[in-house]
């Protein structure tokens, strides 16, 4: 039995976590969902997640701060940024700060799964991308 890939998913819109958690579970990810960035940071302080998926625009603490925190605390972790306010300057800033990838909302679950599979590859994990089924 391969070791599950631990993913932390942070988005202040509850629907995002509700939709993406089962979508990522299908390819073998063990997902913890957070809507509150403070609680997510507290969890990240304690535990290393191989992959962190975070929204950018949130109240109080934004995704860039989460990215910086993770890069400092767990440099091996891969951080994927998702945002409904994508623009070139933000994308470049995220990449410069060490994001693994940057995705504009709305996206299909398959789009995120593809990026997660790529990040998993970079970490030496193999995810069964086909297990999710086309467009599921």
């Amino acid at each position: 039995m391969p070791e599950p890939l631990e993913v932390l998913l942070l988005d202040d819109e509850p629907i995002v976590g509700r939709r993406l958690k089962p979508a990522l579970a299908k390819i073998g990810c063990e997902v913890e969902v957070f809507e509150n960035p403070e609680k997510a940071l507290a969890r990240l302080q304690q535990k290393e997640f191989k992959i962190v998926v975070t929204d950018i625009r949130m109240d109080d603490i934004d995704g860039m701060q989460v990215l910086e925190f993770v890069r400092q605390r767990w440099p091996q972790s891969k951080v994927i940024m998702i945002t409904g306010y994508a623009m070139m300057s933000l994308a470049r800033e995220a990449m410069e700060k060490g994001a693994f990838d940057f995705i504009a909302k709305p996206f299909k679950p398959d789009d995120l799964r593809r990026v997660i599979a790529k990040a998993a590859d970079a970490l030496g994990y193999h995810l069964d991308f086909a297990a999710a089924g086309e467009g599921a």
């Binding site: 070139m88 994308a91 470049r92 990449m95 410069e96 060490g98 940057f102 789009d111």
Partner: protein, 274 residues
């Protein structure tokens, strides 16, 4: 994993830097050689494509509408080519239509002004003062060209990620600096920037299809959805919307077409005055 779009105030100096950069980084070079295939695939005269890239529309020269169509053909072909990573692009205006694609490093190369002046004077057989005036006029025309077709001032340093002056830098050093910048993480391709590029490719393909019939059309694309904006008289509105929708839908990759009509008040006034 990035694209480098080079622009220059001197075609020869820019081409030299583009070639050297591509060779130094092991990147492909997308330059005016592409025009041969654009011409062959679309049945266009190659010399007109070159003319469209170089000349400002004038009463006696190429008409703006035709020039716009030719530039869109070049744009569609060039963007398609730039879907491949690790390319240096020069001489096709890509710095003007890659705006918003974050993995495209846009570089302006300024030729050594003394050399440029001397070359122009020698080539045209002009005294330095007249050669300087000629260069000034050419620069103004170039700005008009970029503003007319791409709504941007090509000479404005704010359009670029990097501006290099060959009056102060050796060519090798300029190439080294471009290579270093291309390696920055901020210029690496990502899902979002690839999507931006893909959307631009689709918008250009749709424009290729629509422009000959609808010269005032504006097109944007996102994930297979195309939003077109066209001017129309009130009475032609529905017919025009249908025609745009039908033509745009024929382009592979288009899933949905939304057509917005802007009322053509000048046309309307002209009609009612008859």
């Amino acid at each position: 994993m990035s694209l480098i779009a080079i622009s220059s105030d001197s075609y020869a100096s820019g081409l030299d830097i583009a070639r050297r950069t591509a060779a130094a980084l092991g990147y492909g070079l997308v330059d005016r050689e592409l025009l041969a295939s654009v011409a062959a695939e679309r049945g266009l005269p190659q010399e007109q494509l070159v003319q469209a890239l170089e000349e400002t529309p004038s009463f006696f020269g190429m008409r703006g509408r035709r020039q716009q169509e030719l530039l869109v053909h070049i744009q569609a072909a060039c963007l398609e080519k730039l879907r491949e990573d690790n390319q240096v692009c020069y001489g096709l205006g890509a710095h003007l239509y890659l705006v918003g694609v974050s993995h495209a490093l846009r570089v302006r190369v300024l030729a050594d002004p003394k050399e440029r002046l001397a070359e122009t004077a020698a080539q045209r057989g002009l005294p330095p003062e007249r050669a300087a005036k000629l260069l000034e006029r050419q620069e103004q025309e170039r700005r008009r060209w970029s503003q007319q077709f791409f709504q941007a001032d090509e000479g404005d340093p704010a359009q670029y990620d990097m501006v290099l002056s060959l009056g102060n830098l050796e060519a090798d050093k300029a190439v080294e600096l471009i290579g270093d910048a291309a390696g920055y993480r901020k210029f690496q391709a990502m899902t979002y920037s690839r999507k931006c590029l893909q959307d631009k490719i689709l918008a250009a393909r749709v424009l290729e299809k629509l422009l000959p019939q609808f010269p005032d059309i504006r097109v944007q694309a996102s994930d297979g959805t195309v939003v077109a904006q066209v001017q129309s008289l009130k009475r032609d509105q529905r017919k025009k919307q249908e025609a745009v929708r039908e033509l745009a839908s024929q382009v592979p990759g288009v899933n949905y077409v939304e057509v917005h009509v802007i009322r053509d008040y000048f046309g309307q006034a002209a009609q009612s005055g008859r």
